[in-house]
């Protein structure tokens, strides 16, 4: 026999379930604009019918429903789009970092303009042409010196500014690693909380959201791989469990970073600052350490199985993520050895090329200058030197300058091609000045037989092409990322219209349940107060 009050119980369950749904709708609406929030849904299932099945179960006609129960509050999210989103974020991070560096380099090189190195060089050549026309003129000589200084200044400025950008990039790499390491710590802590809640049969949706936001952020830094480890105990089947996070390398090896509530920290293996994260020399690779509670660090192998230090060669990193983008700009060792001549990267390459250009320009110019004779008929000396010395070897873009004795006495400029023996001065002879001016067209052997000017044009062209590529790929990655984000939002984001509709649905269902209770109340009233009163 069914119970007298069974209907009341069923409707009470209905009231509770609809109320939960209504509250969840409220939660969704409250979080409509929360970054990383995923809309939640109340999963309702009918409770088991009456009577229960068993040998001694009463024999009744039919299997009567007993109401509804809330099995879980679930967030609506698609793992697959998350994966896609993170892949695109990787690419975006890489190309954006590269594009940013190249933009800074372009600002420094300042071409095409009326103020860049090309223009300074042009003016220098012009001053030599003027010197050829007026070799005995002190004014023309002073102008050559000043224009020479301007060329040296341009080289110095570019060198110093590029070095500064390089320095800042190193700091940025350090900050990035610190940030990423802190994210790892946070993910581990969230994993711990999730592992504590799930065995009780709950779904910590908002913790999942927080963890996914952190994973999104982490994937802008480097490519990651995640796997889920279900919690034990009474965990629901749809519970997500703890997330194991690994860094994915180019050859498929993975470096475990977070496992449950345990985490490790990434450290720079090459020469670094005391924090172990900001590179001080070129980047050679990364390794992981376990930071103990007292602050000491223990090395770990990639899968945490041994305490052996395992350095992951930087060349094994895919061109994904902001970290690799910054490293490619900052400079890394092509064989992981850290040898000075294995350095490669957008900034060191540019600095090296400028150095080569300054060196070969100075050497050739000095050679021609020494072939000439000055106003007193004696042979010319070095024109460009290392700043503050009289040394012409080891000139770089950073230290090239005009020799001090020439600055003090411009008459020492060897504009003439007269015979230095016996030293007959020819003040009106400007033939050597013309040769110097025409060096602008002559190919230099150190620069593979192309002239300084053409070499510089090549540098600018290459930088432009690289910049254009980085910008285009960053734009593409952004477009793709937006498309995926759109798809993800389409699944997960809160639609106010939908929530309003749900609100009406749940409200009405709640009302209907209440009405049901009234009906049952009335039927019971009939039995209790209206029956057995025949004739009254």
């Amino acid at each position: 026999m069914r119970s007298t009050f069974m209907g009341l119980e069923a409707s009470k369950r209905g009231l509770f379930a609809q109320q939960s749904a209504l509250y969840t709708t409220g939660h969704n609406i409250s979080n409509a604009n929360t970054e990383g929030y995923t809309r939640q849904r109340v999963n309702m299932t009918p409770t088991l019918g009456y009577p229960g099945i068993g040998l001694d179960s009463p024999k009744t006609a039919g299997f009567i429903g007993t109401g509804v129960e809330v099995t879980a509050v679930q967030r609506i999210r698609d793992d697959f789009t998350d994966k896609q989103y993170r892949q695109e974020t990787n690419k975006l991070g890489y190309w954006q970092a590269k594009s940013d560096t190249i933009t800074q380099m372009e600002d420094i090189l300042n071409e095409p303009s009326d103020y860049g190195l090309a223009q300074t060089l042009d003016q220098f050549w012009n001053s030599l042409q003027d010197l050829n026309v007026n070799p005995e003129d002190g004014g023309a000589r002073a102008v050559v010196i000043q224009r020479g200084i301007a060329v040296a200044d341009s080289f110095n400025y570019m060198y110093n500014s590029l070095s500064k950008v390089k320095e800042n990039t190193a700091k940025e790499i350090g900050v990035l690693l610190k940030d990423a390491n802190s994210i790892l710590e946070q993910i581990a802590s969230l994993n711990g909380q999730i592992q504590a809640i799930e065995p009780n049969g709950y779904m910590p949706n908002d913790l999942y959201d927080a963890r996914d936001s952190l994973l999104d952020q982490l994937s802008t830094y480097y490519p990651i791989e995640t796997t889920k480890v279900p919690s034990g105990g009474n965990a629901l089947a749809i519970a997500e469990g703890a997330t194991t996070v690994s860094l994915k390398l180019n050859d498929g090896t993975t470096v475990k970073l977070v496992d449950g509530n345990e985490y490790v920290q990434l450290r720079n293996s090459g020469e670094s600052a005391t924090d172990g994260q900001t590179p001080a020399g070129m980047v050679t690779g990364l390794h992981i350490v376990k930071v103990n509670s007292n602050g000491t660090e223990t090395f770990l192998s990639n899968d945490w199985s041994s305490t052996r230090k395992t350095v992951n060669d930087i060349n094994n990193f895919s061109t994904l993520g902001k970290f690799k983008g910054l490293v490619d700009s900052y400079g890394y060792s092509t064989d992981g050895s850290g040898d000075a001549n294995t350095e490669k990267g957008q900034l060191p390459d540019m600095i090296n090329k400028l150095n080569l250009m300054a060196q070969s320009f100075a050497t050739e110019f000095n050679k021609l200058h020494k072939d000439g004779t000055d106003l007193t008929g004696t042979s010319g000396e070095v024109f460009f030197v290392q700043n503050g010395t009289t040394d012409e070897t080891g000139i770089t873009a950073g230290n090239i300058y005009v020799a001090q004795n020439l600055i003090d006495d411009p008459n020492l400029i060897a504009a003439s091609d007269s015979d230095p023996n016996p030293g007959n001065p020819e003040p009106g002879n400007g033939k050597q000045a013309l040769k110097l001016a025409n060096m602008k067209f002559s190919g230099l052997s150190e620069l593979e037989d192309i002239s300084v000017q053409t070499y510089f044009e090549g540098l600018i062209g290459q930088l432009g092409v690289d910049g254009q590529q980085a910008e285009r790929l960053a734009y593409n990655a952004q477009t793709l990322q937006q498309a995926v984000e759109e798809r993800r939002d389409s699944v997960s984001s809160v639609s106010l219209d939908e929530e309003m509709t749900n609100m009406i649905t749940f409200q009405q269902a709640y009302n209907a349940n209440a009405r049901m209770i009234t009906v049952i109340d009335e039927t019971l009233d009939k039995i209790i107060n209206g029956m057995g009163r025949v004739g009254l």
Binding site: W125, S418, G461, S493
Partner: protein, 295 residues
């Protein structure tokens, strides 16, 4: 596909910011008048821009050099013209002196005038442009004719025979000086001989031999002048060539990197109206939700 409010507003914001960035780019182009402001805008234009600038710069430098060439050649020509006139006068005087009707007094008077002409030519030999003696080869700070020494010491210095060349076009050098110091010396010696002969009272027939010497020197001078004239012609040709080169180089540079204003402004107007449309549509779609219609 399920579309939510946050997606719409996100998209709107993104599109608006895209519009602004395009608008910004166009404004920058219009403000600077250049198609590219950094190499990555268009690497080819940037690279070409550098070499076109250099080319234009070259042409401008050569034009400046040409100015100096004109200066030297014109001054040289003018000096030769004056020396020519002096020799012409000397010729007339010698014809007069060699005439047997001339008395000794007449000849002495003629001699003193001839000596004035000699000094005049010596002064002309020391012609300067600015601080530079133009007939001193590459020894431009030393006068070719030195008081008391004459031309002799300088004759022995090969620097006085050296040419001064300037570049007037890529790889084309032009000699702007001439080195007539030997001719000057001959003219000077000639005047000295005439003076000696007149002072020693030689007969008219003997003096008339000097007329031939004067003629010879005249011819030498004319040859020098012809050379200068030929070079002047060359400079003029080069000058007009450089002028057209300058126009071509400027035009090429401008075509390479300058914007087409009409095009840029039309594009900007288009972009502005797109922005306006995006803004007004945005205002419409963001506003209402179901919330506005239920009570």
């Amino acid at each position: 596909m399920r579309v939510t409010q946050s997606m719409l507003s996100g998209n709107l914001l993104r599109n608006l910011s895209n519009n602004y960035s395009k608008l910004g780019k166009l404004q920058e182009q219009i403000n600077t008048g250049k198609k590219v402001t950094r190499p990555s805008d268009d690497p080819v234009v940037a690279m070409k821009g550098i070499s076109y600038r250099t080319e234009l710069n070259n042409v401008e430098q050569f034009s400046r050099n040409i100015g100096e060439a004109y200066n030297w050649l014109d001054t040289t020509d003018d000096t030769y013209d004056k020396i020519g006139s002096a020799l012409q006068r000397a010729n007339e005087l010698m014809v007069q002196a060699s005439n047997d009707t001339s008395t000794t007094d007449d000849r002495m008077a003629i001699n003193s005038e001839l000596q004035q002409l000699r000094e005049h030519i010596q002064n002309l030999a020391n012609t300067k442009i600015g601080d530079r003696y133009i007939f001193s080869g590459t020894k431009t700070t030393t006068a070719p004719y030195q008081e008391g020494v004459g031309y002799d010491t300088n004759m022995s210095d090969p620097s006085f025979q050296k040419t001064i060349e300037i570049e007037v076009f890529n790889g084309i050098n032009l000699q702007i000086n001439s080195t007539p110091i030997a001719m000057f010396k001959e003219i000077d010696q000639m005047f000295e001989q005439i003076s000696t002969d007149i002072s020693s009272g030689k007969a008219g027939s003997e003096l008339s031999a000097h007329i031939t010497t004067i003629d010879n020197n005249m011819n030498k001078l004319l040859t020098e002048r012809a050379d200068i004239g030929a070079r002047q012609n060359r400079v003029e040709l080069m000058d007009s060539r450089l002028q057209s080169q300058e126009i071509i180089a400027t035009k090429r540079m401008s075509e390479n990197e300058d914007i087409d204003y009409e095009e840029a402004i039309v594009e900007m107007t288009t972009q502005e109206s797109i922005l306006r449309a995006a803004l007004s549509v945005g205002a419409q779609i963001i506003q209402p939700t179901l919330v506005d219609f239920i009570n």
